[in-house]
């Protein structure tokens, strides 16, 4: 199977080059911690926190998949050039409406450096009073 890389594979980056390599391939999830049952919640995903990724013909972020545990919810695909061929943070806002609490992870694919996953992000779903 393709290897899946994760920032926590390394304890502490040995140098800035390694930090750059890991950071720019890491999907970061930003969203609220909770949402009311069935309401829309925005899930922002951004590739890289301090370092940015190229957008070249054979080296770019190919896709960003949003998962709830074993279930894929949605996937953003980029053609090379969507970021003008520049080095930049690939970014997307997903909008989902969970009915029960979810444990989100993101799987992102760099066409040169393979699959990368985010940390898990729990979103608690609040049910109306009197329901389970």
């Amino acid at each position: 199977m393709p290897r899946i890389s994760k920032y926590s594979d390394i304890k502490k980056p040995e140098n800035e080059l390694q930090q750059d390599y890991f950071d720019r391939h890491t999907p970061y999830i930003e969203c609220d911690d909770q949402v009311k049952e069935g309401e829309i919640i925005k899930i922002k995903v951004k590739m890289g926190s301090d370092f940015m990724h190229p957008d070249e013909g054979t080296h770019h972020i190919g896709y960003i998949q949003l998962w709830d545990r074993e279930t894929m919810l949605a996937e953003m695909r980029y053609l090379p050039g969507a970021l003008g061929g520049k080095t930049a943070h690939a970014e997307v806002d997903f909008y989902i409406a969970p009915m029960v609490s979810v444990c989100l992870t993101v799987m992102a694919y760099c066409t040169k450096h393979g699959l990368w996953q985010s940390e898990a992000k729990h979103v608690n779903v609040i049910h109306p009073e009197g329901t389970v």
Copy 2:
């Protein structure tokens, strides 16, 4: 070829049912009218303005593609259930960084009612002084 529907195919909806059918399948683009060369611009796409679309197993919004004229920039794909199985506006924020002015259109696919396109949206790219 698959037929591609557009809200302007009808001059004026004959009744609310028809208005509902056309509106909930129409992708609406919201974004700024201009951006500096190479800067990131957010392109919000929302399906339906006044009416919402089901999110059922065999009837949901399957994908939303963002085009600049003949060039596809990115595509969001949804698995059924991403919106909790509820009737809702499918929505996504794309982030692109155009180097030259773009003419955006969206092609969206309903797994039951086929392909739908948005109105075109021009985004003017402002180049630094002294450049073309």
Copy 3:
């Protein structure tokens, strides 16, 4: 909307360059004319008959979609490099099991020259004796 090109847009190629351009972007469907209800039928799609297409970073066949009228059945996506970076016919065999007669078309996307469609191909579905 993105323009959709078709070989029949030109009556007769003016020269070999034009013939090359149209042919190598045209999806050709090869399959049987009929199938028994619910049985698997192989649908071969090949890009180009006499002329082949590049497989370069920013210029390759990005996807091949199989449609039955307004309904998308399946989609093959290629990353650049799947054909070794060489000029070649992109090709795929889909397997479908129609329950009723279908009218197939293919929509293919070249990352440099946009959307192209095939001729329609009818496949007649034979129902067991005594059924409709």
Copy 4:
């Protein structure tokens, strides 16, 4: 991260139900063991050997990805209904043209039971005499 299942996760199926569950989710790769450099080779992928998978609205094979180690080559996506809503083997023939020897694996996604991977399949690429 989403769990990735594999037939070899179980040593020996405990019963036919378990054998069915594992087999029908397993992608099997069939192809030649070698190919000449830059020539097209057909890679058949079939889901399940003895047992078949449903093709229902919220329970079907959603995609089949072909990987060479960390690099995705191509992906087949199915909309529910492509197999007539029947229980059947999802199947696809990829065509690739490797320039160097490849180690293929397939990742397949069931919309109800998550990600599944195949055994690895090596394809040896034969270079013309006198080249490396």
